[in-house]
């Protein structure tokens, strides 16, 4: 997919004035946060489980090479095949080869961010294979030629009227007068249309939430059941997963599952948690005849041992973006590549380079909610700060910003002057703002005030207030 992260600012401006998008984003603000907190509050062990989940991933990452070896051995023993892919291109090639060998014309797909990362759908189309997304949200955005705007709710940027329009445009074989005004009727129509695709497909592709070293198992966690039909009905099942999905044992999956669904959708468990190991057994009446796993690195091995290693603990629950004020304001597409929100602001520079995505770690207020809700205790704000530092030391940000920072740094290191100037400027601004306490417009700050007010400073500087307080305290004592 085309990377538009370099034009994040332009994307964000577009998003802020997109009426449909702003309406749809209301569903993120309303839906996810309450559900998560209810589920978390109902489980007294939640925080202990977060610690446990973090420790499991830390251990797995510290021994990743060895667990990958054990995992491969088990997959092979169960009759499956592991294909190692260093890059997105290697992964695409390996997948195409398997599909060609199976004579595939139609490929159904369960929801998978990793296939977004390697741009699999476009590649399939270029090579004469028809990919069909089967997750409802993914299906909708595929019809629109769009990409997911959220890692677990790919069509969260859309309203039902838009979906109706797309269904009418594409499903021309269905009667024109049918009722598609409600989500219920839209879902029923998608179910009917996709049923035929599951049976028509030659190959089914899913991602993986976990790869289990103990047993050579891939695990998917879904609510719709589309992933299961995708991997059960065609004769070939391909799992595409990145190397950091490895966990040691089934019990480790159990620990992480308990924080995954609660953090994502506020469910105790997602509806379907499916463990797949190898192809169908000799006497099995159904299931795929071939089972392949594409193990993708694509830059992750370089994150190990760096200040970004903790990011590899991410289990893609989406809690960070569900709680992010920046994501709430601009939605996922503005981030310009596969992964949006705070996790995207850290992961995207690691995978495509900070030169292309430097705006992302800067698009944060550092409010810290992402880290507070992250089930894997990933220090997202700290890692965004690391990216900002790297960006600065590589001189990637614009000259005005760099000089501005330098000027401020000089100023801040001369406290007397700093205090003198602010002691005039702060009360001045406060006076200018008047009783409203906010600015609707400020010269040189149009980028800020176009979409929101700038809060005016208190009437006195912090230092002035502090001195006052201290004086009062001492006065009180005597």
């Amino acid at each position: 997919m085309q990377i538009t992260s370099p034009s994040f600012k332009k994307n964000a401006r577009g998003a802020l004035s997109d009426v449909q998008l702003q309406k749809a984003l209301g569903n993120v603000r309303l839906g996810f946060i309450d559900k998560r907190i209810k589920a978390v509050d109902a489980l007294p062990e939640f925080d202990a489980l977060r610690d446990s989940a973090r420790d499991i991933k830390d251990h797995a990452l510290a021994h990743l090479d060895l667990y990958l070896e054990s995992y491969e051995e088990k997959v092979t023993a169960a009759g499956g095949k592991v294909h190692w892919a260093e890059t997105a291109e290697d992964a695409r090639k390996a997948i195409l080869e398997i599909c060609r060998a199976a004579g595939a014309r139609t490929v159904t797909k369960g929801k998978s961010m990793i296939t977004e990362e390697i741009g699999l759908n476009d590649f399939f189309v270029e090579n004469g294979i028809r990919p069909v997304e089967t997750d409802l949200g993914e299906y909708i955005i595929q019809l629109r030629g769009e990409h997911p705007s959220h890692i677990i709710a790919p069509a969260v940027h859309l309203n039902k009227e838009q979906v109706e329009e797309d269904f009418r445009r594409v499903h021309t074989h269905l009667p024109e007068g049918r009722d598609l005004t409600e989500p219920e009727t839209l879902l029923a129509e998608a179910r009917r249309v996709l049923r035929e695709e599951y049976f028509a497909a030659d190959v089914g592709i899913t991602g993986a939430n976990f790869l289990v070293a103990e047993t050579g198992t891939s695990v998917i966690v879904t609510n719709e059941g589309n992933g299961d039909l995708t991997q059960t009905l065609p004769k070939v099942h391909i799992v595409v997963a990145s190397i950091e999905k490895i966990v040691p044992t089934l019990d480790d999956v159990g620990q992480i599952l308990r924080v995954l669904a609660r953090s994502a959708t506020g469910q105790d468990m997602s509806v379907y948690t499916t463990f797949s190991t190898g192809p169908r057994r000799q006497d099995d009446p159904d299931g795929p005849e071939e089972y392949h796993v594409i193990l993708l690195d694509n830059g992750r091995s370089s994150m190990l041992g760096s200040e970004f290693q903790d990011m590899l603990r991410c289990i893609r629950c989406g809690a960070c973006m569900n709680h992010c004020p920046v994501y709430h304001a601009v939605g996922g597409h503005a981030y310009g590549w596969v992964y949006p929100g705070p996790m995207g602001a850290v992961l995207t520079p690691s995978l495509i380079g900070v030169d292309k995505s430097g705006h992302l770690p800067n698009a944060s207020t550092f409010c810290g909610r992402c880290e507070a809700v992250c089930p894997m205790h990933i220090p997202l704000p700290r890692m965004m700060r690391h990216w900002r530092e790297r960006e600065f030391s590589r001189r990637l940000n614009p000259a005005t910003q760099r000089y501005g920072l330098r000027a401020w740094a000089w100023f801040a290191r001369h406290p007397r002057l700093y205090q003198l100037v602010t002691s005039f400027a702060i009360p001045g601004l406060s006076l200018l703002a008047g009783r409203r306490g906010r600015f609707g417009y400020l010269p040189f700050a149009g980028g800020w005030t176009r979409h929101r007010d700038l809060p005016a400073p208190e009437s006195r500087t912090f230092m002035q207030q502090w001195r006052n307080r201290e004086t009062l305290k001492q006065g009180g004592r005597t």
Binding site: G31, H59, L64, E86, V156, L187, D228, T249, L250, P285
Partner: protein
């Protein structure tokens, strides 16, 4: 093979580790062998009676319907009752599961039972669960000669028989049982953990039942089982 060596090489270089490092290998082998349990929520750690009640209650919370019967022989009648209450045709699809086969289906005279993997036209599937998990109202079902996975996903209505004695407090107990049944480190092709009927919230975050899997999940819990 080159991709494999390159990736493993990069991982080792980044971790500053050598592949033949004995201490690291020991740590990995130890964890795979011991499979430590971690934190088990107190919620499911109950006596048999309370555990079964919790299972039924949690299954209800995720929109499954639950019918408790006394013994195996009551199951066919319970199936017919469910079909009637939902105005469904008296036809069900099931695998060759021995536990189901041993039930007196002839008692349910009007009912037509067909066997084998499910197809696109099967409206009702019947399965026997391998286990239940009280903590979350979850069912465990596994594939095998007698248990087609398609029965769990293609029909609009999925009826699952669970023996009360197979209901565990937590997931970890079920994993242990899987290790006993299939051997440590071995798994069936598919192990399905099912928690309620299928659903989607993809359109305006409005939660709807019946996405691509069953619209309805009906559990028959056999108390004497």
């Amino acid at each position: 093979m080159s991709g494999r060596n390159a990736i493993l090489g990069k991982v080792r270089a980044s971790l500053g580790a050598a592949g033949d490092d004995g201490a690291r290998r020991k740590s990995v082998a130890g964890r795979l062998e011991a499979a430590p349990k971690g934190v088990i929520p107190a919620r499911g750690q109950l006596g048999r009676k309370e555990r079964i009640e919790l299972f039924c209650q949690m299954a209800g919370k995720v929109s499954a319907s639950v019918k408790r019967v006394k013994k195996d022989a009551d199951v066919p009648t319970a199936v017919v009752e469910y079909l009637r209450s939902r105005n469904l045709p008296a036809t069900v699809r099931m695998g060759a599961d021995e536990r189901l086969a041993a039930m007196p289906w002839e008692k349910a005279k009007s009912l037509e039972v067909t066997h084998g993997p499910a197809g696109p036209d099967d409206e009702v599937g019947v399965s026997h669960a391998y286990a239940g998990v009280a903590e979350t109202g979850t069912l465990a079902l596994h594939s095998g000669q007698d248990n087609p996975t398609t029965v769990n996903f293609l029909p609009e209505h999925h009826i699952v028989v669970v023996k009360a004695g197979d209901i565990a407090g937590d997931l970890e107990t079920v994993f242990d049982r899987v290790r006993q049944t299939f051997g440590k480190g071995q798994m069936p092709r598919t192990l399905n953990l099912v928690t309620g009927p299928s659903r989607s919230g993809d359109i305006e975050q409005k939660l709807l039942l019946g996405a691509h899997g069953p619209r309805a999940l009906h559990l028959i819990v056999v108390d004497d089982g």
